[in-house]
């Protein structure tokens, strides 16, 4: 009797908000609610009758620099050939020392982001200490894995995660695949539809030991190149005064780069390209 009570208490003790939600309120989970073969329109076939139209987020770039890591995302969401949003923000602080950016189905991605933010804060409040950076990266991988049935319906979410590893004293980057596989990236990385072009730009622009200002400039220019060749990625928009969302994470925490700094940086990129008078 005593032993079963102790076992029950131990089994119920969890520091994970996701586990608690799965147990008590599964209806609130962003994924894993409907078995994918029971979704309307799927029938027995593995492929849905018509692909579901939903806004998709596009390009995210991240890189290490001298004091930590930086992550930047453009402001566009697309639905087929239509621009669904010019204002969407796809890079978020996960907690005090980490940020995540999301590419893929925007609705699910935003909910996974919110769940991940609560997950980290919940752990911190229950345990009284921060989760390790590897622990955070693994939790995010588990969430992406949880979304696999939806990903097979064409509603994939691919995050990019970056944080400052305080015990080690440097910034680290993690990328994921749709099955939740977690890969640590060196130097820089990009995800989303424009990532090929952004990565090409990063290869030429990134150098070891970049200063913070230089890293911001490199990120904005890489997104500019992605927007140049990928119709689903939005470039800097001086007409509407829209600039990429850029977060830097260093020893003191995660901060958003203010819009007026980004306006100046984007202005310089546009100016240098105008002066060069090059076609491609």
């Amino acid at each position: 009797m005593q032993e079963t009570t102790a076992n029950r208490v131990a089994a119920n003790a969890t520091s994970s908000f996701t586990e608690h939600l799965q147990r008590e309120r599964p209806d609130l989970m962003p994924f894993g609610q409907v078995p994918f073969n029971q979704l309307p329109g799927t029938g027995h076939a593995a492929q849905p009758a018509a692909p579901l139209q939903a806004p998709h987020g596009t390009t995210i770039v991240a890189m290490t620099y001298a004091g930590g890591v930086l992550m930047a995302g453009d402001r566009r969401a697309t639905m087929g050939n239509v621009i669904a949003s010019r204002h969407i923000e796809k890079v978020f602080p996960a907690d005090q020392y980490s940020v995540l950016g999301i590419a893929g189905t925007a609705g699910i991605a935003l909910d996974i982001t919110r769940l991940f933010q609560v997950e980290l804060e919940h752990y911190e409040k229950i345990e009284g200490t921060l989760l390790s950076l590897d622990g955070k990266a693994n939790r995010l991988g588990a969430m992406v894995r949880g979304n696999l049935p939806m990903a097979m319906q064409g509603l994939a979410v691919v995050p990019l995660f970056a944080g400052f590893d305080r015990p080690a004293g440097f910034g680290r980057l993690f990328s994921y695949d749709v099955t939740g596989g977690r890969y640590e990236e060196q130097e820089h990385h990009a995800v989303g539809s424009g990532s090929m072009f952004a990565r090409g730009a990063l290869k030429k622009l990134w150098r070891p030991g970049l200063s913070e200002q230089d890293a911001v400039a490199v990120a904005v220019e890489a997104l500019y190149d992605a927007a140049d060749d990928d119709s689903a990625t939005g470039g800097p928009d001086p007409v509407r005064q829209l600039w990429p969302v850029v977060y830097i994470v260093n020893r003191t925490g995660a901060f958003r780069v203010p819009d007026r700094d980004l306006a100046a940086v984007a202005g310089r990129v546009i100016e240098s390209r105008t002066v060069a008078q090059r076609e491609a």
Binding site: F17, H20, L21, E24, V118, E121, H122, K125, G128
Partner: protein, 235 residues
């Protein structure tokens, strides 16, 4: 089969209440003070890791006296309640009033239905935009809930400590003043006139966390050097 003696419900409740009160009075006191800068929570607690004060949500903190395992399970339940509520509705929909009423119901249910009542007393504090918008709720072992004004003292020789705090309390106190007042209260039932910083657990709910530190989470635990620095400031 042995014959059960008849015990009147009045006697039964009184015995349970006496049992819980004894357990709570054995421990050391906790003081929660609402002041100009926010809400200060001060506990006499020699352990640096087994906390009596905890963060529940953006503007809400928790303080407790009594048995550690009992109030720790209530604290964790409170964090889960607040996080689920904030996740399913919105962050601003999590209020101390809602949390306090859930605590009152669970404490009341345990008091009447379980083998033994919880030997705990809780305070739920919510910091507002202005001092008038601060909320302090006191919850006792039987599920009673009280909306307090200004400050709460719980546990140990609560009446003596409470007298000392009441004598010095005023709304204009800053954090340093509020913590000094709490210390004066905590030594009221002792021979000494001061407590070592290592025997204290101090946390604050910062009213200006959004403008000052750029975070909506107003709870901040003060480490020993922070407390020494704060108390060394000019009076």
């Amino acid at each position: 089969m042995t014959q059960q003696f008849y015990v009147s419900p009045e006697q039964l409740m009184k015995d349970r209440a006496d049992f819980a009160r004894k357990g709570i009075a054995r421990g050391r006191s906790v003081v929660v003070i609402s002041c100009r800068d926010g809400i200060a929570l001060v506990a006499e607690n020699p352990s640096p890791s087994l906390h009596k004060i905890g963060e529940i949500y953006d503007k809400i903190a928790f303080a407790a006296v009594g048995k550690y395992n009992e109030f720790e399970s209530l604290r964790q339940a409170g964090v889960r309640y607040a996080d689920v509520r904030g996740y399913s509705y919105d962050r601003e929909d999590v209020t101390a009033r809602g949390l306090a009423s859930v605590y009152a119901q669970s404490l009341g249910a345990v008091f009447t239905a379980e083998q033994k009542p919880f030997e705990v007393e809780l305070a739920v504090a919510e910091v507002g935009q202005t001092q008038e918008a601060d909320h302090l709720y006191r919850l006792t072992f039987d599920g009673s809930i009280a909306d307090e004004h200004g400050f709460i003292v719980m546990g140990g020789q609560a009446d003596k400590v409470s007298e000392a705090v009441a004598a010095g309390w005023q709304g204009e106190l800053d954090f340093a003043g509020a913590i000094r007042l709490a210390l004066a209260g905590l030594v009221a039932d002792k021979e000494t006139t001061t407590l070592p910083v290592s025997a204290l657990e101090v946390a604050v709910l910062d009213r200006g966390s959004e403008s000052g530190r750029g975070t909506r989470r107003s709870f901040r635990r003060l480490e020993d050097p922070d407390i020494v620095a704060l108390l060394a400031e000019e009076k």
